[in-house]
């Protein structure tokens, strides 16, 4: 991508910026914030894997909160009850093999308990066999290329947010930084295998609501898979630092019904054979 501002000279008089924050801070404090609701958990899962991961995360979170409450319940009780200011006299014990064995064994059992579902989910994730179609994904500095070997379709997917918005000269639109010229189009309801690699440095292909994140490593192909259940548009980003454009190579996936997908495929083929790539409207 050719973003004009991507040269490595530090820019802008700091003072100007500082004033900008001052105003922005004021804005915030007067509760006039840029965007609406804050998300407190993963994005809505739309694949079987994403669902499992979501539950795994909830389980882990629960376990951790429980442990935290118990351990520090005890500690804060003692802070409350055993303080010198209340004239509490110190006990002298400093050893107890039984209790030490107990608090070595119990954590261990807890860990075994969480390791079981974790392992099951992991093995499911790693199994890329019997997939209905394959998409090859290649990371570049700083854009993605998508190939459909079977369908003979291939195109690049590049950030479509105008530089003017990034440089704060224009108001930012809804999908600021998460929009591309040619989204990846996939059919819902079938197992799709991804073959992911990179052309220059390491990138990482991540779509949160699919529960898919896999590094794109130059010279090697990583395989992963997904099966989208709900049609819609899903957005993700490159998640491996890959140079100055790392924040600017988003991923947009359009999940459509089988029928629409076939339509799209034929259209693309026509376009490719007509050997001119008219940009589908940015989304």
């Amino acid at each position: 991508m050719s973003l004009s501002f991507k040269n490595n000279k530090p820019s802008g008089p700091l003072i100007l910026a500082v004033t900008r924050f001052a105003t922005a801070a004021a804005l915030l404090l007067s509760a006039g914030s840029a965007s609406a609701d804050i998300r407190w958990n993963f994005q809505t899962p739309v694949t079987p894997m994403a669902h499992q991961i979501y539950h795994l995360q909830d389980l882990m979170f629960g376990v951790c909160v429980a442990i935290f409450v118990i351990v520090f319940g005890v500690m804060f009780y003692s802070i409350f009850a055993h303080r010198k200011s209340k004239g509490h006299k110190p006990a002298t014990f400093h050893q107890s093999t039984t209790i030490e064995v107990i608090w070595t064994v119990i954590p261990f059992l807890i860990l075994v308990a969480v390791a079981v579902p974790a392992t099951a989910t992991l093995l499911k994730m790693e199994n890329t066999s019997d997939s209905a179609m394959t998409v090859r994904i290649t990371g570049y500095q700083w854009k993605w290329q998508y190939d459909y070997p079977a369908q003979g379709i291939s195109f690049f997917s590049d950030l479509s947010t105008p530089v003017a918005q990034i440089e704060n000269q224009e108001p930012k639109n809804k999908h600021y930084l998460l929009q591309v010229d040619h989204p990846l189009v996939l059919p819902v309801g079938e197992k799709i295998r991804f073959q992911i690699t990179a052309a220059d440095v390491i990138h990482s292909w991540w779509v949160p609501s699919f529960g898919v994140k896999t590094d794109a490593i130059p010279g090697f192909i990583n395989q992963t898979w997904t099966e989208i259940q709900v049609p819609g548009t899903y957005r993700g980003q490159c998640t491996e630092l890959c140079g100055m454009g790392h924040a600017f190579m988003p991923i947009v996936v359009k999940a459509v019904s089988q029928k629409e997908f076939q339509k799209w495929v034929t259209a693309q083929k026509a376009r490719m054979s007509a050997a001119h790539s008219a940009a589908t409207p940015a989304m």
């Binding site: 501002f5 991507k6 040269n7 820019s11 802008g12 100007l16 922005a24 914030s33 840029a34 965007s35 804050i38 998300r39 407190w40 958990n41 894997m49 991961i53 995360q57 882990m60 951790c64 351990v71 005890v74 500690m75 003692s78 055993h82 303080r83 509490h88 006299k89 002298t92 014990f93 400093h94 050893q95 107890s96 209790i99 030490e100 608090w103 070595t104 261990f108 860990l111 390791a115 974790a118 392992t119 989910t121 992991l122 990034i166 704060n168 930012k172 809804k174 600021y176 930084l177 440095v201 990482s204 529960g211 896999t214 590094d215 998640t239 630092l241 100055m244 790392h246 924040a247 600017f248």
Partner: protein
């Protein structure tokens, strides 16, 4: 006596005292001050990072400069603030705690320190090289680091120098502990802080050379046409990650074990009750160190390792929760039915306990491979490691600073201001880093100078709190300055409940801690 006196009639004063010193206290002081300076340098980088992330859109810098800032923030905090800081504590305290006159190899000790200012001059000079500092992140992954500008070479050689400094410093500490203990000071009588440092020093000697070798390979790929990390020549970029994390994970325990040591000194003092389960503490520390060599893969779950490898690293990583848990429980048990008082060091110790555990538990969530596929390289990870690094390593040092400052300077610090520093730091710390968990879950990647609109609100909260956190640290500097300059005279014991040889010495202690070794029964 004779010889000690003989070699030390000359007490060089002024600049020479600091440049040429062979005294563990002077060297310790220099380490501590240097670490404070680096904390502020790297902290200022963090302030710039937070400024840029205050709202969406590029604010005050170009994306590549942002990458340079995160790289230097990470490198300088880890190698400049945390590691030298703990070595400073080791220099000051270990000879006093084991009843030695000084470190075993005093000249080497001075060299280990003086390498640092030169190494960081070289590292930071990369900002002024054509192309600027490397924008690779502190992990310097190939091939990005192979592609990086000249600044990368400065960082590589700076890391070589830091490696020499750490290894020599660690060797000195090991030798001091193994060879300089006073009669009767058996290994199992050593204070916990000494134990944790013995094990930390071992980790340092074992992994710093591996890092040196690894960055050397990057250097070769950059300038001499080798293909260590390039598939075309049969190499593999992932090899870099294996080598780096073989160093990197033990490194994170290098940054936390001495903190465990400091906390194990503070809590018994203010609980007026001996440390609970000393033997199991020693054993737990050793097992953490051992495990740290076999968990490195948990930083690389998404690189496409075979499933068996993923499982191995998941299980071994989870296992670390057990010995660490033992430590947490032992500390709580030490407080249990003690006679607690809450001077500033104790406040920091309790803060450490609570917040390190939060970081530890989030670490455990990261260890769960399928979930880590979602957390990896998001702000969830950034939250995790600031909980263990700032609330863990850095706040343990702050606590230790208040705990031993009266012994070092002979003056009591200002308790009220100390408590203020603690509360401001704790409140702003949590306001800064807790929201990062949610940013990560919601899908904000780390290492990005600009973000989508739905992340705006939390980032504003984070940035404002971060500035507060930064400013609160100025208060710390003021308290330390005040205490060094003067203040209420400190007793030798300083704290009612303090145990250990260092408290038998005067405050401030004599130039040679124990000219004649005490006998420990």
């Amino acid at each position: 006596m004779a010889s000690v006196a003989a070699n030390h009639e000359e007490h060089p004063v002024g600049l020479k005292r600091w440049l040429f010193t062979t005294n563990h206290k002077d060297i310790g002081t220099m380490y501590l001050l240097f670490s404070l300076l680096m904390f502020f340098v790297a902290g200022s980088f963090a302030m710039l990072i937070r400024a840029e992330l205050f709202s969406p859109g590029m604010q005050i810098m170009k994306p590549y400069f942002f990458n340079q800032l995160i790289t230097m923030h990470g490198l300088v905090m880890i190698f400049g603030a945390i590691m030298p800081g703990f070595v400073g504590f080791a220099n000051w305290l270990i000879p006093m705690m084991i009843g030695a006159p000084d470190m075993a190899l005093p000249r080497l000790n001075n060299w280990s320190f003086w390498i640092l200012p030169f190494a960081f001059t070289l590292m930071l000079s990369s900002f002024f090289m054509p192309g600027g500092a490397p924008g690779t992140g502190w992990t310097m992954y190939a091939p990005l680091s192979v592609q990086a500008p000249i600044g990368m070479d400065c960082v590589i050689f700076a890391i070589h120098m830091l490696g020499i400094s750490s290894v020599l410093g660690a060797i000195n500490i090991i030798v001091t502990i193994l060879n300089m203990r006073a009669p009767g000071m058996t290994l199992m009588k050593m204070p916990m802080f000494v134990w944790t440092w013995l094990i930390t020093a071992f980790l340092l000697v074992a992994v710093m050379p591996v890092l040196a070798g690894t960055v050397t390979m990057v250097l070769m790929d950059r300038h001499f046409g080798t293909h260590f990390f390039e598939a075309a020549g049969g190499g593999d970029p992932v090899l870099y990650q294996h080598l780096f994390w073989f160093f990197g994970h033990p490194e994170v325990y290098i940054m936390i074990l001495p903190a465990f040591g400091i906390i194990s000194q503070i809590i018994p003092t203010f609980s007026r009750k001996p440390l609970f389960g000393y033997e199991s503490m020693v054993f737990a520390t050793a097992s953490i160190a051992f495990l740290s060599f076999i968990v490195w893969g948990h930083h690389m779950f998404t690189v496409g390792m075979p499933a068996p490898a993923e499982m191995f690293f998941m299980y071994s990583t989870m296992l670390i929760a057990v010995p660490t848990g033992v430590k947490i429980f032992n500390w709580v048990a030490t407080m249990w039915r003690g006679s607690l008082s809450f001077e500033t060091p104790m406040l920091f110790a309790i803060g450490f306990l609570v917040m390190f555990t939060i970081g530890g538990l989030s670490g455990l969530m990261l260890a769960v491979v399928p979930a880590d596929f979602q957390y990896h390289n998001t702000y969830f990870v950034v939250a995790h490691f600031h909980y263990v690094l700032f609330a863990g390593a850095a706040m343990a040092m702050m606590g230790g600073c208040y705990y031993w400052l009266p012994k070092w300077t002979g003056h009591m610090y200002n308790e009220t201001l100390g408590k203020w520093h603690f509360w401001l730091t704790t409140i702003f710390f949590n306001l800064t880093f807790f929201p990062m968990h949610f940013l990560g879950l919601a899908g904000m990647p780390r290492r990005i100078p600009d973000y989508a609109l739905q992340f705006t609100d939390l980032n504003r909260v984070v940035s404002i709190s971060a500035f507060g956190l930064g400013l609160s640290q100025l208060l710390w500097v003021y308290v330390v300055y005040q205490t060094v300059k003067g203040g209420k005279k400190a007793t030798d014991r300083v704290w009612e409940g303090a145990e250990g040889l260092e408290w038998t010495l005067s405050s401030p202690p004599p130039y040679h801690s124990f000219a004649t070794a005490p006998t420990v029964k």
